[in-house]
């Protein structure tokens, strides 16, 4: 639940999602759900020449199970808040 809440706060920010198949997609975070499925808008692929089929894709739904990394802007993280939330989760769980 912690990361679901965390990503909900990041909606509207530019992120780069790197998938397990090495595809990296940059876009605006539109929404996230409990499985950490991600919907991105205004997407563009990082290495466009390698993935020509993605050229006309402007929005996409990414299944949570295939995400390797979600790369965030450095000011996207309030580390203290995250620390506190993690400690609370650890105590409660």
């Amino acid at each position: 639940m912690l990361f679901f809440s965390y990503f909900k706060d990041l909606v509207g920010r530019e992120v780069t999602v790197e998938l397990k198949n090495d595809l990296a997609i940059r876009g605006t975070l539109h929404s996230v759900d409990q499985y950490l499925n991600i919907k991105l808008e205004n997407t563009r692929v990082v290495d466009q020449d390698k993935y020509p089929h993605m050229l006309s894709v402007w929005n996409c739904f990414i299944r949570g199970s295939v995400v390797r990394y979600v790369q965030l802007p450095p000011d996207g993280v309030d580390v203290e808040l995250l620390h506190d939330a993690t400690r609370r989760e650890a105590r409660g769980g």
Binding site: N21, H53, V57, W58, N59
Partner: protein, 107 residues
């Protein structure tokens, strides 16, 4: 997908907004399937109508028509919405699955 609270309706990550749209489905084995999304569920299983597999080699590609496909959700990497041409939009407006699913309360 998730149980939507009142504020989550606008944030929905469901595929409902993609219904009746021409999509690209990328699969884990690297296949690219194009088709019109007719149905989906919480596992991201999907029904694609008029599906074709696009094989791309360098600058060349070819489409293999597949017909009606059900994709098991665990194989889905991503589902991408394609920029639609004007004629396709016009024909899509006639009697689509979306209209029959008014109860979903999407808009």
């Amino acid at each position: 997908m998730s149980w939507a609270g009142p504020e989550d309706i606008y944030l929905s990550t469901s595929l409902a907004n993609y219904l009746d749209k021409k999509l690209l489905a990328l699969l884990r084995d690297g296949r690219k399937l194009f088709g019109t999304l007719r149905s989906f569920d919480q596992f991201a299983n999907a029904v694609l109508e008029g599906a074709c597999e696009r094989i791309i080699v360098g600058d060349l590609y070819c489409d293999i028509p597949l017909g009606l496909y059900i994709i098991r959700g665990e194989n889905v990497v991503l589902i991408g919405e394609l920029a639609q041409k004007a004629e396709e939009v016009a024909s899509d407006l006639k009697g689509t699955m979306k209209k029959r699913m008014d109860f979903l309360d999407m808009d």
